[in-house]
């Protein structure tokens, strides 16, 4: 019944038209700004015009006097609400984060005051009349500045927001790299990106009675928003209902509320009347959390035949001032070589605070791994003199090599990038292209072919606190029609369509008879919604299981009513049939009427009604794979790139609706094309965002995007239904595919410095052999040195220019006599999922140490040793995987610092103080 492979059916696998479309095509969607409630007021923000400084004074008197203004709030007015701005993992931030600026500002656009007025126009007028005096300070804008600049957050000692991996070189790994026949050192500088959903952020908060709060909000899961708001605001006694029927794109920006949305909710709790805030595009481009902005150097050793031997990655990302997740993107390293036969990998990964708006997720948040690996492989192929397809064939893990463990100990099973690559080259005639390319080059035209392969973990459920299974509740109404309430959420994903297809298929009813409801936290159960390409896999499995349960019930009841065995009952097209007895056929409506209305006619013990629900827990990890190819022509006169062809060969397992699958891939590829050629969120030296409109921040238009050709490889996964997930893949694999094509086209000129976006100016620098890019495009001197350091030199830390000097710190008062170790210590460990607070309790007896660590997750005891003021002990943990944590702690006076070796995750920092 539930064999994993489903393939195609009456509706599964068919290009049925989307249920969402008629309302959206006729202007009857319901986006947050479309909702109006009686008594509703409007909010606007006063935002910081400087990137860093102290707030000397705020005068709201003039703003308050504007007719139509009801209130003006600053952080001081809202401080009595204790807000914990938790991240996606529900963990508190490492630095104090408040909804409105609290005495200091740390980025241009930071909300400082909130105005409540009768109309949006009046609110904006008044917001501009709030007088704020700032004492300016020199901002830290780039990663290079963050390395040596004054801490963005005065309470911290450095700008490192998160760090993992090893700072000390691993001599064995270094020797492998040094002694290999080929060592490729490859650098990628990735620009900052604005997720730019076409619908900006927005919220309408309504207080319904004392203990109810309704939020209409643009989000990626109403359930997650309800959970987040309840925990962040400590509203345990409040019934929170979150409604988001239509959302105009999310892409990672709308995972959970942030400063502005929280300010609006608090203002409603304080003021009482319904309040709406709709972000305008200027606010969205400067004040909404952005994404990417990272630099990475990957060193990879190859043998003479191009087989990978060892590799090391050094990654840094600019987290901005208040990131939604203080992270160093451990997933980049986890998945970098996961699909390749890489024997050994080491890394150092860091996130940096700067005086820019904080980062949030963006489709494929760890995509740097595919970008740098796939582009490095092409550089290697050119250097070693082998074909880019061949270098992948030699290194990819094939189906016959599986199951296996990756160099980062990830179980690799059921991945098909090598197989996708073979299907791709069967479809695309590489030899013919190479001929065409050679002929074109003779004529002074530069064609290039880019190939890339990748895998992506999808369908996550269970490894992260918010990544859960999905719930499907399906019922056959007394009318015979089918209603499903799903925990899914669509910001364009079309889940009301794909889930209805599954239910119709598995229940045996017409697709037209199925209606799927989602988008309301008061219906269905918890799920994180759209995140990590998971809904097709997890909710798809839930819809299948719930439909099967319900079909079983229908068969049981029909069998009883028709006096035949349930096994002989077949449901088809909304009718129950008995094999060989057409006269016994009954409509689902007639069966449902009995199920609900005539309980006496049910078999003994059968619950009345026709309802079923199932929460599906998929296998721990599902993986999608793909291989892409693209052909470009680069105009050597202008540096313009024209994409001539693009082929996507993906394996997303069972495609519930190939048109929806292709739509997801195409949308992701378009975003990747934007990343490689156009989009760049830039800042000047003072930290001012200089791409504050869509005339400066260039999004791809129809003329920038080619027709995509699709090859569906469709190997069913082991999850129920066989889906593998498809949301993020295009955005991940698109970038290396296009970069490789451009690099191939321009190979006669040398290697392209990989600083995104590859604007015509930057490409002309290579073509003309002059550093045009440095002169024209970089206001900040250190960026130019990064550009010239690209490609083949290891990352050097560029000399800081015009940097504030870190304030000298007063020396710690010396401990009176010997270290005082025993007792409780408040400690914070920087883990891959954000800072983890805990209490450490130590008891010493000579050189023997015992104690326990206590956190919200529970308490674990340990024993270890004491060496003077150093404590050493080991702890074994099971989640997220089995590893031994090796603690090494140094105590100085009332402060505690230390390192924790976390197996393959490298070393994490620990800080603490007397508790």
């Amino acid at each position: 019944m539930n064999a994993p492979g489903v393939g195609t059916g009456r509706y599964i696998g068919q290009r049925v038209r989307r249920k969402e479309d008629p309302r959206l095509l006729t202007g009857r969607g319901q986006f947050v700004d479309d909702i109006v409630v009686p008594g509703m007021l409007h909010a606007a923000f006063t935002r910081s015009p400087i990137a860093r400084g102290r707030i000397v004074s705020i005068d709201t008197a003039i703003a308050r006097d504007v007719p139509g203004v009801h209130a003006v709030y600053t952080q001081a007015d809202l401080a009595h609400f204790k807000v914990d701005m938790i991240n996606f993992y529900l963990v508190s931030p490492a630095v104090e984060t408040t909804p409105l600026a609290n005495g200091r500002v740390a980025y241009v656009g930071e909300p400082v005051a909130l105005v409540i007025a009768d109309s949006r126009h009046i609110a904006e007028d008044a917001a501009s009349l709030v007088e704020v005096q700032y004492a300016d300070e020199t901002p830290v804008v780039s990663i290079a500045q963050a390395r040596s600049g004054a801490p963005v957050h005065p309470a911290t000692t450095s700008n490192i927001s998160a760090q993992m991996g090893e700072e000390e070189p691993d001599e064995e790994l270094e020797a492998l790299l040094r002694d290999a026949p080929h060592l490729i050192t490859h650098q990628v500088v990735h620009q900052r990106i604005s997720q730019s959903p076409m619908e900006t952020r927005g919220v309408l908060a309504v207080r319904d009675g004392a203990e109810e709060l309704t939020l209409y909000i643009t989000c990626q899961s109403p359930h997650l928003v309800a959970r987040w708001v309840s925990l962040a605001l400590g509203l345990r006694q409040t019934a929170i209902r979150v409604i988001a029927k239509d959302v105009g794109g999310g892409f990672g920006l709308k995972n959970h509320p942030w400063k502005e949305e929280v300010s609006v909710i608090l203002a409603v709790l304080a003021f009482g009347r319904p309040l709406k805030w709709i972000e305008d595009r200027y606010e969205n481009l400067i004040g909404a959390n952005q994404s990417r902005e990272a630099e990475m150097v990957l060193r990879t050793a190859f043998d003479a035949e191009g087989r990978v031997l060892a590799s090391h990655g050094d990654y840094s990302c600019n987290n901005g001032a208040y990131p939604q997740l203080e992270e160093c993107n451990i997933a980049v390293h986890m998945f970098l070589w996961a699909a390749y036969k890489m024997p050994r990998y080491g890394f150092l990964t860091r996130g940096w605070y700067t005086n820019t708006v904080g980062l949030a997720a963006y489709r494929g948040p760890w995509a740097m791994e595919s970008l740098i690996r796939e582009t490095a492989l092409d550089v290697a192929a050119r250097r070693i003199g082998i074909d880019p397809i061949e270098i992948r064939r030699r290194n990819l893990v094939r189906l016959q090599d599986q199951p296996t463990l990756s160099c980062m100990s990830i179980p690799i099973e059921d991945i098909t990038p090598a197989e996708c690559l073979e299907q791709l080259v069967q479809y695309f005639d590489v030899a013919a292209f190479r001929k065409e390319q050679a002929a074109a080059r003779k004529a002074g035209r530069y064609l290039g072919l880019g190939i890339a392969t990748y895998i992506e973990p999808t369908g996550a459920a269970g490894s992260i606190v918010t990544m859960t299974g999905e719930l499907a509740q399906v019922r056959i109404e007394p009318t015979g029609r089918v209603t499903a309430t799903m925990s899914t959420h669509s910001q364009g994903h079309g889940t009301a369509t794909t889930m209805a297809q599954i239910i119709a298929d598995r229940l045996g009813v017409p697709y037209e008879d199925v209606t799927v409801f989602e988008g309301d936290s008061s219906r269905g159960g918890f799920s994180p919604g759209a995140a990590g390409s998971r809904q097709g896999v997890v909710a798809g499995g839930a819809a299948i299981k719930a439909s099967e349960l319900l079909a079983d019930k229908v068969r049981l009841l029909a069998g009883h009513l028709l006096e035949t065995s349930p096994d002989l009952v077949r449901i088809e097209n909304g009718m129950a049939h008995v094999a060989g007895k057409p006269e016994l056929s009954r409509s689902l409506r007639s069966i449902a009427e009995i199920a609900y209305g005539e309980p006496d006619r049910l078999p003994p013990g059968l619950e009345p009604g026709l309802e079923a629900q199932y929460r599906y827990q998929p296998p721990p990890m599902t993986l999608a794979s793909a291989a892409n190819a693209c052909v470009v022509e680069v105009d050597a006169e202008t540096g313009m790139v024209k994409i001539l062809r693009w082929i996507s060969a993906e394996d997303c397992g069972t495609a519930i609706n190939p048109a929806v699958v292709e739509g997801q891939i195409a949308g992701g590829l378009a975003q990747a094309i934007g990343m490689v050629l156009l989009e760049e969120m830039t800042f000047d030296a003072a930290g001012n965002p200089t791409a504050a409109t869509y005339k400066d921040y260039l999004l791809p238009a129809i003329s920038d995007i080619p027709d995509f050709e699709f090859v569906h490889c469709s190997t069913p996964s082991k999850s129920v239904g066989g889906m593998r997930g498809v949301g993020e893949g295009g955005a991940i694999i698109g970038a290396p595919t296009l970069v490789n094509a451009i690099a191939d086209a321009l190979a006669p000129f040398g290697e392209i410095p990989l600083r995104l976006p590859l604007t015509p100016t930057r490409l002309l620098s290579l073509i003309e052999g002059r550093d045009l890019a440095a002169k024209v495009e970089h206001p900040q001197p250190e960026e130019a040195s990064a550009a010239t350091a690209a490609a083949d030199t290891p990352a050097t830390v560029p000399a800081p220019v015009d940097q504030p000097v870190p304030a000298a710190r007063a020396p710690e008062p010396a401990a009176p006599s010997g270290p005082q170790i025993d007792g409780d210590w408040k400690m914070v460990l920087s883990t891959p999922v954000g800072p983890q607070a805990m209490v450490g309790h130590f008891e010493t007896d000579g050189t023997a140490l015992s104690g326990y660590l206590k956190s919200e997750q529970g308490s674990m005891g340990f024993t270890g040793i004491v060496e003077g003021n150093r404590l050493k002990f080991d702890l074994k943990v099971d989640k997220p995987m089995k590893i031994t944590l090796k603690y090494d702690i140094t105590i100085e006076g009332a402060r505690l610092t230390g390192k924790v070796k976390m197996g393959i995750f490298g070393t994490a920092k620990l800080v603490g103080e007397r508790g």
Binding site: R15, R17, R18, E20, D21, P22, L24, L25, T26, G27, R28, G29, F31, D33, D34, H121, S196, P197, M198, E199, T200, D246, V247, G248, G249, F251, D280, R281, S490, Q491, G492, H493, G494, A659, V660, E662, G663, I665, A666, G667, G668, L669, A670, Q671, T693, Y694, K695, L699, A701, I702, S703, I705, D707, F708, G730
Partner: protein, 161 residues
């Protein structure tokens, strides 16, 4: 700010209401006339989501003041489908070709294509695609929009698919 009494025909019905001189046509249509199908994506004329038809021409509602539309004949996305729900040929083509995902950009796309394929207009494929380059869609990668535009250009005027 001066208040003005503004009257116009919206989707065939007369509409009269007051608005300040600074109110854009898109805000007026959404706020005063309840045409929430008019979407606002950028308010600076780049994204095209706010496109409506004013006296037969596709215009960006965010770049025009409501007072400038005094006396005009305005059509929004709500005014295209027939009373019985039958979709306008442009809507039908976009529906058939999976040309939308979140649907936020969609009303603007619909209105531009409707203006350029209206009876009497002879926009060819090239012109329709060129016009589409003035609409930003962050979701779809434009594949379905392009297919729909080609289909609409291929069908003779008045006999759209």
């Amino acid at each position: 700010m001066s208040e003005h009494r503004i009257s116009m025909t919206i989707n065939g019905l007369r509409h009269v209401s007051n608005a300040e001189a600074r109110v854009s046509l898109s805000d007026f249509l959404r706020g005063n006339a309840g045409c929430t199908g008019v979407h606002i994506g950028c308010e600076h004329g780049v994204c095209g989501a706010c496109t409506v038809i004013v006296d037969g021409l596709a215009v960006r509602g965010c770049l025009m003041l409501a007072v400038q539309a005094e006396g005009a004949e305005v059509t929004t996305v709500e005014g295209l489908a027939a009373g019985d729900g039958t979709l306008h040929p442009v809507q039908q083509a976009l529906y058939d070709e999976f040309a939308l995902q979140c649907g936020f950009c969609t009303p603007g796309v619909v209105m531009t294509l409707a203006a350029l394929t209206a009876p009497g207009s002879k926009a060819n494929e090239q012109q329709l695609l060129a016009a589409m380059s003035g609409h930003i869609c962050r979701c779809t990668g434009y594949q379905g929009i392009r297919r729909a535009a080609k289909k609409l250009a291929a069908a003779p005027a008045g006999e759209q698919p």
